[in-house]
């Protein structure tokens, strides 16, 4: 069982939750603090989904306006704060991709290039994990047990809401391979995540 080095540190979740609560009470300074604290990470997520810097910045802008408007509902979601923020960004990113479906072809062309850098970059270093929730830490440990391309297929299926056949088409892999990788990937995650529960 991997040791979690953050167990003894003060909870970053509590600080983020306090900021979100203040934003729910229309505290603009709190929004600024949350932005300073989380924008690079959320921008990284948006970039991963939409792949273009201007689009990702539009997503970030829309996401923080959403956060400003719905922060009061955060507590009811029962989510760790960073995961809640991440789900807002993922959702806004997918909205943008849907609005840009006409540009899908362009995305596909960029895909080979994208695969090259994502294979190298999809394992955050420990410093990047400082604010991550316990569940994200566990997922990180379990994903790192998957082989690189397998991990990539699972990640993209989730982050970009892609089906087996969309993944096969974009990654230029046989459909059967994609299905097998996802099934094995999920099987490994099931065994591994069960140990963290």
């Amino acid at each position: 069982m991997p040791h979690n080095p953050r167990m003894t540190a003060p909870s970053p979740d509590a600080e983020l939750m306090a900021l979100i609560d203040r934003i729910g009470h229309r505290d603009e300074a709190a929004l600024r603090q949350l932005y300073d604290r989380t924008a690079p990470r959320l921008m990284g997520l948006a970039m991963r989904v939409v792949r273009q810097r201007e689009w990702a910045e539009d997503v970030l802008q829309e996401s923080f306006l959403t956060i400003w408007r719905v922060a009061g509902d955060y507590r009811a979601s029962l989510s760790p704060p960073l995961a809640w923020l991440g789900l807002i960004v993922r959702s806004r990113s997918l909205d943008l991709l849907r609005r840009r479906t006409a540009d899908r072809a362009q995305l596909t062309q960029e895909f080979d290039e994208l695969m090259a850098d994502t294979f190298e970059s999809d394992t955050p270093n420990p410093a990047d994990m400082a604010d991550a929730s316990e569940q994200a830490w566990a997922l990180h440990q379990c994903l790192s047990q998957l082989e690189g391309r397998q991990r990539e297929v699972v990640s993209l299926a989730y982050l970009r809401e892609m089906s087996h056949s969309e993944l096969a088409e974009q990654l230029k892999l046989p459909l059967g391979t994609v299905k097998t990788w996802i099934r094995r990937g999920l099987e490994k995650l099931r065994t591994c995540m069960g140990r963290f529960a």
Binding site: Y35, M47, Q61, A83, D122, L143, L159, S163, I182, R183
Partner: protein
């Protein structure tokens, strides 16, 4: 099949559901089971939570500093709108009934957002050309495009801090009647609209203003009786144009 008798299969289905790769009829059947059986629903929610961690694991990328400026401007404008709405609700007896709902209309909110985007583009344009402009042009630190309720740009407002001057240029086709005047308002956050002056009929006009006058998130123009109304009372006529005031970030 009774999924509850096959815990590993239940977990895999729940994981595929949360991942998004469970599609079509299989997805619908799983969701029906989840609605009927709490343990299935619980497994689905557990996996949604587990995979949500994926959003936290991406490599950070620093956004451009202008992104925060855009967010702040849009939020300030939104709050100014709400302040104006409260103000107008309080002043309701004077306002014509036909304009009562304008602030709540979705079209107008979209318009405000579009105006914000337009101003952002404009501000960037101004920034790019700054070196040439510095030599012979006024120093423009604040800029606003005021739009009507169809988001059509109607008035370009710039502030020249050296001359302490607001410069307004009509860019739309609106012309007030001879018995009316347009009046420019600053919309401070949480406060009442403050008059910045009454506009005459000229296509471009200048109003004296200090920088503290224009340190507000948004401006609006209302249609008033000839000569305008006193600031203390706030606008009495319909607000024709409004938009966020952008402090340029360079």
């Amino acid at each position: 099949m009774n999924l509850l008798a096959h815990p590993e299969l239940l977990e895999l289905l729940a994981a595929s559901h949360a991942l998004g790769t469970l599609r079509g009829g299989a997805r619908r059947r799983f969701e029906t089971l989840a609605r009927e059986q709490a343990p299935v629903r619980a497994a689905a929610l557990v996996w949604q939570g587990r995979l949500a961690g994926m959003t936290e694991l991406q490599q950070p990328v620093a956004p451009d500093p202008a992104v925060w400026t855009r967010i702040r401007n849009l939020i300030d404008a939104e709050q100014a709108q709400q302040a104006l709405e409260r103000q107008r609700d309080n002043a309701a007896p004077i306002a014509p009934a036909s304009t009562g709902g304008w602030l709540r209309s979705l079209a107008l909110w979209r318009g405000a957002a579009a105006a914000g985007a337009l101003v952002a583009v404009l501000a960037v344009g101004v920034g790019l050309n700054l070196r040439e402009q510095l030599i012979n042009a006024p120093a423009v630190q604040y800029v606003a495009v005021l739009s009507d309720d169809k988001a059509a740009a109607s008035m370009l407002v710039t502030f020249d801090p050296k001359k302490k001057q607001l410069v307004l240029q009509r860019v739309g086709s609106f012309r007030e009647g001879a018995d009316k005047s347009l009046q420019l308002w600053a919309l401070p956050p949480g406060g009442a609209p403050r008059s910045l002056g009454v506009l005459d009929n000229a296509p471009a006009l200048r109003l004296a203003a200090s920088e503290s006058d224009v340190r507000v998130p948004a401006l609006a123009i209302s249609l008033e009786p000839k000569g305008g109304v006193p600031s203390a009372g706030g606008p009495t006529g319909p607000v024709l144009f409004h938009g966020p005031l952008i402090e340029k970030t360079l």
